[in-house]
């Protein structure tokens, strides 16, 4: 028989062990050898704080009352963990990227670092957690009382109270010691996590040991056990479908939203891969925890039919004289209770200090965080006080509620309370349209409905809600009855409350989000949370106004501690290429710093503190618009510049081209003028000379005739030259009027050949033609065309240097038009000169043979162009070869 004193001794020894383990872990972590302290196993075990004393002791009682329904409390978390790829992975990623310190911080950070939402969630957490802590204190003191009763001394209520008080004080001491040792930027507590992992092992072993004992030691094996279950009071499974589904949902929601669960799952998480391991290992833990619940319940019912089923885990071994097993079981229950209380106190105190105390403290001292005092001390102090306050509240609740059955129901009530955070949480994680107003409305409505339908009625008719209100609704309005909202009667109270609170909460959240417009910071944060897989970047909490690096350093030292802050600043300064401790406060750096600070004091507070120094409280739409406008303007301006510079270079190229042309034209004009004067002076000179001879005196008739003939010839030559010049200038100025008419190419060529053969020339020229090919009808100016042909034939006659000069005229008519080639058998035109023969005054050979001014081909080119055709030189034809192309349209039209 274990005496009360032995029990106290064991208890103290166990507590001392926990202290030692936590202390050793802290020391180890301080030395930097984290090692197995942060292994997947420890992570999984730390999640086991889900199994509180309520589940350790209470599950068996639950099974006695409702059979298999107890298992729903474990099935929800199992589904959440098995589905880690959906939610937990994302939560952990966001938690790491944004340095989230609590669930209130997550909600506040997601919705634009809102202080209001932080406060709401914190209040919800405090209200949900306090009764739960009271429940743990009750279970510990009840289990003490069991042993005392065994020992013979029946404890009175006073003794129970004292036990609870001692336990609460001890827990407060432990939590303050290891939960607020330092302000870690990662908000991780190696000592606490290691201690609760140890407790997780103890409670699992204890429950399995009791289970193995009842199955093999009492029942005699699994088969016999099954038979016993079938024969027991709970053999029939009275399944309430609504409760079954609701409780699975509720436990899943609470698993994510409970502050303590969020703390170990997200905040204390060191590595995303640990979640992958926990995805199967934690369900396995829950599986093991619940495997023996029904057997223990059944054996308890048969061994101790009249006793409190909530304590069967303890009383069954005691009744069967298994003292050491009972002691182990007691330690398991003690572990369940203490680990839950410790983590819950840390989580809630972090929330209270970051979201309620710090904002008040900051606004109370408008001077700014850099004025004086050590912020770190303030934060730590506020956390320590919060821990004490939370535990004191729990103890007070335990005392006031009288430790009765009312407490037993508080588990589910607390679950439903914290589950109100779920819509805002899921919406914030998966829906970018979720806004702060929507979240606030949803949370408030859900909280109100939960309080009205579940929390307040749980006190019975003595507290706030009178019996009349419970029975008939407020002011006798039937459809407002707390357990039958809108007249829906007959539902299980839990299902009813969860259904209505979640429906109204989600609707308020959704509609509020639809009809409100998020602030810029909210939208940035929303995008970062929802798309965490795409980019891990923090939203800048400030825009302009360069902060003083020194002020930032002073403030950071207060929060992070001098050594760490200086290290951060020095590293940044080195990265910026500066010596010393003071880097330029670039937006990047300020953002990083803010995130570091957020790890210690929460996102909203960190932003407020940095904002006090940097000046910019937050981004406004105007700021964003201004930045966007500026950027757009700059981009537009630069693109304009680019276009302009392209245009400029184009224009410059054109100008260069034009300049070249002008220079050439000027040279050409000079050449033209000198040519003209030369051409005009030659005949003028001979005319003057011969007319002087004629004037000088009498001479023979023959001489007179000869000289006057020469004068006449020279005058004709002069006239022709002037005619040509005129002709060319008329053609070039486009003032010529063409006489369009139907004509036959053959007759035009005939005219041209006849005209050239009548010319006086000693050189005979054989002309080869193909009359049939030449029979092509044209619409053209035959006189002008003949002029071109005459020119070409005359050229051949003049310049062909062959022994027996010969000219082939070849006509080809095709789709593209009619081509007329004039090919002689002379030496042709040298390649170098081919490009300039169509220019004015271009003459290749000596002056004498030319007989013209060198304007012929230039005129030809102008005429053919006017007729819509083209004239060119054909190289490599065995002599000089010109091709005249006449357009097809005119050829066709004549057919």
């Amino acid at each position: 028989m274990i005496g009360f004193n032995v029990l106290v001794l064991v208890c103290l020894a166990y507590a001392a062990l926990l202290f030692v383990v936590a202390f050793a872990a802290e020391k180890r972590a301080e030395r930097g050898t984290v090692g197995w302290l942060r292994s997947p196993l420890i992570y999984t075990l730390s999640l086991s704080i889900y199994c509180t004393a309520w589940t350790f002791y209470g599950a068996v009682g639950y099974a006695v009352r409702s059979g298999l329904e107890f298992v729903t409390i474990y099935l929800g978390p199992t589904l959440v963990m098995v589905g880690w790829w959906w939610l937990v992975r994302k939560l952990v990623r966001i938690g790491r990227a944004q340095r989230i310190t609590s669930i209130a911080d997550l909600i506040s950070s997601r919705y634009g670092k809102s202080t209001l939402l932080g406060v709401i969630v914190t209040l919800l957490a405090v209200i949900g957690t306090t009764p739960y802590i009271a429940l743990q204190l009750q279970s510990v003191s009840l289990s003490f009382s069991v042993f005392s009763a065994e020992g013979g001394a029946m404890p009175d209520f006073e003794a129970l109270d004292n036990t609870a008080l001692v336990v609460a004080a001890g827990l407060a001491l432990f939590t303050i010691l290891f939960g607020t040792r330092s302000l870690d930027v990662n908000e991780r507590h190696h000592g606490v996590v290691t201690a609760i992992a140890l407790e997780a092992v103890v409670k699992l072993i204890a429950l399995i040991a009791v289970g193995v004992f009842v199955v093999w030691g009492v029942a005699g094996g699994p088969a016999e056990m099954m038979a016993q279950i079938d024969a027991s009071k709970i053999a029939e499974w009275q399944l309430d479908g609504g409760r079954w589904a609701t409780l699975i949902f509720l436990s899943a929601a609470a698993f994510v939203c409970l502050p303590r669960m969020f703390h170990v799952m997200v905040v204390e998480n060191a590595d995303e891969r640990h979640v992958a391991v926990a995805s199967w290992a934690f369900p396995l833990y829950l599986f093991a925890m619940s495997l023996f619940v029904i057997p223990i319940a059944v054996i308890g019912l048969s061994v101790l039919p009249g006793e409190n089923p909530d304590l069967y885990v303890l009383t069954v071994p005691l009744a069967l004289d298994q003292d050491s097993l009972a002691m182990l079981s007691f330690l398991g229950g003690f572990s369940s209770a203490t680990s839950m209380v410790i983590v819950a106190a840390i989580a809630v105190s972090t929330m209270v200090s970051n979201h309620i105390v710090m904002p008040i403290w900051l606004s109370a001292r408008q001077g700014g965080a850099s004025m004086s005092g050590d912020v770190r001390e303030v934060v730590l102090l506020s956390r320590r006080i919060s821990i004490g306050a939370v535990l004191a509240l729990g103890y007070l609740y335990f005392r006031l509620s009288g430790g009765g059955a009312a407490l037993a129901a508080i588990g589910l009530i607390a679950f439903a309370g914290v589950a109100q955070v779920l819509p805002a949480l899921l919406g914030g994680l998966f829906w970018r349209g979720a806004t702060r107003r929507g979240a606030a409305i949803g949370l408030t409505l859900g909280f109100a409905v939960w309080a009205y339908t579940m929390f307040l009625p749980s006190f019975g008719d003595s507290f706030v809600l009178s019996a009349a209100v419970l029975a008939d609704g407020p002011w006798g309005i039937g459809w407002l009855r707390p357990h039958a909202l809108f007249g829906i009667d007959g539902l299980d109270p839990v299902v009813h409350a969860v259904f209505w609170s979640m429906v109204i909460n989600s609707s308020g959240f959704f509609l509020g989000s639809l009809f409100s417009f998020p602030a810029p910071l909210e939208r940035l944060q929303g995008a970062q949370f929802v798309n965490i897989d795409d980019h891990v970047r923090n939203a800048p909490g400030w825009t302009h106004s360069p902060a003083e690096a020194e002020d930032l350093l002073i403030m950071a030292q207060r929060i992070l501690g001098p050594a760490e802050a200086q290290a951060v600043f020095e590293a940044e300064a080195r990265a910026q290429g500066k010596a010393g401790y003071l880097p330029n406060p670039s937006p990047d750096f300020v953002e990083r710093l803010e995130r570091q600070l957020a790890g210690s004091v929460g996102a909203a507070t960190a932003q407020a503190m940095v904002a006090q120094i940097t000046g910019g409280a937050s981004v406004s739409v105007e700021d964003l618009l201004a930045v966007a406008d500026e950027t757009a303007q700059i981009m537009e301006y630069s693109s304009q510049l680019e276009t302009q510079s392209q245009e400029l270079s184009r224009t410059a190229a054109q100008l260069r081209e034009a300049n070249e042309k002008l220079t050439q034209l000027s040279i050409q004009k000079d050449a033209f003028l000198s040519q003209i004067s030369h051409e005009l002076r030659t005949p003028m000179t001979s005319i003057r000379a011969f007319s002087e001879i004629l004037m000088a005196g009498p001479m023979s008739e023959a001489d007179q005739t000869r000289f006057s003939t020469i004068i006449h010839d020279e005058a004709i030559r002069l006239t022709r030259l002037l005619d040509d010049l005129l002709d060319l200038s008329v053609l070039e100025n486009g003032e010529v009027s063409l006489n369009w008419q139907d004509a036959n190419l053959h007759s035009v060529l005939d005219r041209a050949v006849a005209a050239t053969s009548s010319m006086d020339g000693e050189r005979p020229l054989a002309i080869r033609r193909d009359a049939r090919a030449e029979d092509v009808a044209l619409v053209t100016d035959p006189d002008r065309l003949a002029q071109v042909f005459i020119n070409l034939i005359a050229n051949a006659r003049k310049y062909c240097d062959a022994e027996a000069p010969e000219l082939r005229i070849e006509v080809t008519s095709g789709e593209a038009g009619v081509t007329v080639d004039f090919v002689d058998n002379g030496a042709g035109i040298p390649k170098a000169s081919q490009s300039m023969i169509f220019e004015k005054f271009a003459r290749l050979t000596d002056q004498g043979r030319a007989g013209g001014a060198g304007l012929g081909l230039a005129i030809c080119r102008e005429i053919v162009a006017k007729l819509g055709g083209d004239i060119g030189y054909l190289p490599d034809q065995g002599g000089a070869a010109f091709r005249v192309t006449l357009p097809a349209a005119q050829a066709k039209a004549a057919e």
């Binding site: 499974w237 009275q238 399944l239 079954w244 699975i248 391991v277 995805s279 891990v536």
Partner: protein
């Protein structure tokens, strides 16, 4: 905030991994469905389900979920081949052993 265009075709390894994540996403839904199966028993005639048999069913589903989740997580724990590691670790280099 422009994203790089998503790859349309993946190599075999990446494709396998994506299907694995699909499986990981499906698993809780299948589990929830199976856990809700007892609701159908209750809807039947008045001979309600037995606790022993129901317990065996629930625990069997539970065990299967654990085994499948374990198998999936063994593969999913490896870094994603077609995704670069997180660029911004924010100095958070602490890793478990």
């Amino acid at each position: 905030m422009s994203r790089p265009p998503a790859t349309v075709f993946l190599e075999r390894r990446s494709y396998r991994r994506r299907r694995l994540t699909d499986a990981a996403r499906m698993l809780p839904l299948v589990g929830a469905l199976l856990f809700l199966v007892p609701l159908l028993w209750a809807g039947g005639d008045d001979s309600a389900a037995r606790t022993a048999a129901g317990g065996v069913f629930i625990f069997a589903v539970w065990g299967a979920l654990i085994v499948i989740a374990g198998a999936l997580s063994r593969h999913l724990i490896r870094p994603d081949p077609d995704r670069a590691p997180d660029g911004d670790g924010a100095g958070d280099t602490e890793r478990g052993a």
